[in-house]
Amino acid sequence: MAPLVSRKTLIGGMTVIGLVALWFGLTTLTGLVTGARFPSPAEFWFSLKQINGRGYAGSTLASHAVHSLKLVLMGFTVAVMTGVPLGLWMGWSRRVEAFINPVFLIIRPIPPLAWIPLAILWLGLGDAAKILVIWFSAFVPSAINAFTGVRNIDKPVLEAARMLGTPRWRMVREVILPASLPMIFTGLRLSLQASWTTLVAAELVGALVGVGFVLNMAQQDIYPGMILVGMVTVGILGWATTVLLARIERRALAWNVAARD
């Protein structure tokens, strides 16, 4: 008979239970870690109730979360819609690569977060500045991986397409794009991570709403319970978007055995 839960799930569940028990043990039970450093489960629960009910840092957790999620998705989309085509184009044409590569070489060593002050200076504390910074940071992995994807296309496959008389635009849509899709998705995953990292950082520095702003306010209020609420929220949002992207990837790459497991 097959077990009700798989071995992997069982072990994973036990690890989570163990961690929560450890958390409870170190804080509430023994008091080894005081509430001023790290919240106990009860304090965490209290903070969660507070932000969901009365709100914190100007609004409820849901509206902070939705706002951050919206910005990430917008910035991510803009980055991907520009980065992937540019990467494909650079991969396809040596001339375009020669033209654009120097720009990459100059911009890449600058950590994306270093753009935040300039973005705020230009666009203020609103959404536009956040999207700009996410774009800067998430654009690069998308472009570079799309570029690598094109460069690694199996040469005989391209030759076969040319032999069949495939016109230019169909070549891009039906050969180059699908052939580089596994690498493109690798880029998208990195871009998504970069989007969250950058957004939280940007909201920490200057924002009026959003999960990063909650974290910033809670730090200023010396409020560990609320800091943990912010951290957990970002974690859950990041995890959910990653899972969604993985689903899309599995659909899009159904033909690819390597991506199956």
């Binding site: 496959v157 032999m163 069949l164 008389g165």
Partner: protein
């Protein structure tokens, strides 16, 4: 029309001292609707010859002509069956075979008929919607052949097309190819390691030397086939037992054996 000419063709890969001479003064005239097989030691430049006709490789000296005009670029008038299949992994069997016809802008009805015919011919009807990675090597090779065949090209370039097939399927495919070649002849340049296959299929067999490849000898098989009436035998094994067949085969074998380092028969 689909004649092929190699005129004093040299091919050197790389430049200067690091250059490797792959082909040395190749001369070969293939008439329209003629079936020519090339045999030769591994690495002697067979694939390179075929790639120059296909338009993937330029001659370093001399000229490669199709219908009297120099080859400049690949195109569907010269369909290629690649040594490594080169299927599109993200396309199903049908989509792989269909792409060339879509590029020709054939009406969908006609396209479907042609694809159905090719699928039937290659015995792929049960795997129409499979992706290449779900197929055996032999089946992938059949898809590659169908993809080229469905274009009804003037020139068919086949690089060891039966290499990945098991012995039984191989025989079936060989008989099928002979049947097609007699019914609907077209120009075929066919590369193989299998001497018997070359003699069975081709009108002429060109034997190459080891690298740098030269054409060592060209045998007229067609004259013998017609004189000895090979086509009156339906089965390949009956043809292969004929004295005239054995004689040609042995001749080619000996000729190849002379090429030192040849271990691939």
């Amino acid at each position: 029309m689909g004649s092929i000419s190699f005129r004093n063709v040299d091919k050197v890969f790389g430049h200067g001292a690091g250059g490797v001479k792959a082909l040395d003064d190749i001369n070969l005239e293939i008439a329209d609707k003629e079936f020519v097989a090339i045999v030769g030691p591994s690495g002697c430049g067979k694939t390179t010859c075929l790639r120059m006709v296909a338009g993937f490789e330029a001659a370093s000296a001399g000229s490669v002509l199709v219908n009297g005009r120099p080859v400049t670029a690949p195109g569907p008038d010269r369909a290629v069956v690649f040594q490594q299949f080169a299927l599109f992994p993200w396309k199903t069997v049908r989509e792989n075979i269909e792409l060339g016809l879509r590029n020709k802008n054939l009406p969908i009805g006609e396209r479907n008929d042609l694809v159905a015919g090719a699928l039937k011919l290659m015995n792929l009807e049960t795997h129409v919607d499979a992706f290449p990675h779900q197929l055996s090597g032999g089946m992938q090779q059949r898809v590659a052949i169908a993809r080229a065949y469905v274009l009804d090209p003037e020139v068919l370039l086949m690089d060891e097309p039966f290499g990945a097939l098991d012995a039984q399927t191989r025989v079936v495919m060989q008989e099928e190819l002979v049947r097609l070649a007699r019914h609907n002849p077209r120009t075929v340049l066919f590369i193989t390691h299998a001497v018997e296959e070359a003699v069975y299929l081709a009108d002429r067999v060109a034997i190459m030397t080891r690298r740098p490849g030269r054409i060592k000898e060209v045998l007229d098989i067609k004259a013998v086939r017609e004189r000895e009436n090979w086509d009156s035998h339906a089965r390949i094994e009956d043809v292969m037992d004929l004295e005239s067949f054995v004689h040609l085969r042995t001749h080619i074998w000996k000729s190849l054996r002379e090429e030192k380092g040849f271990k691939d028969v």
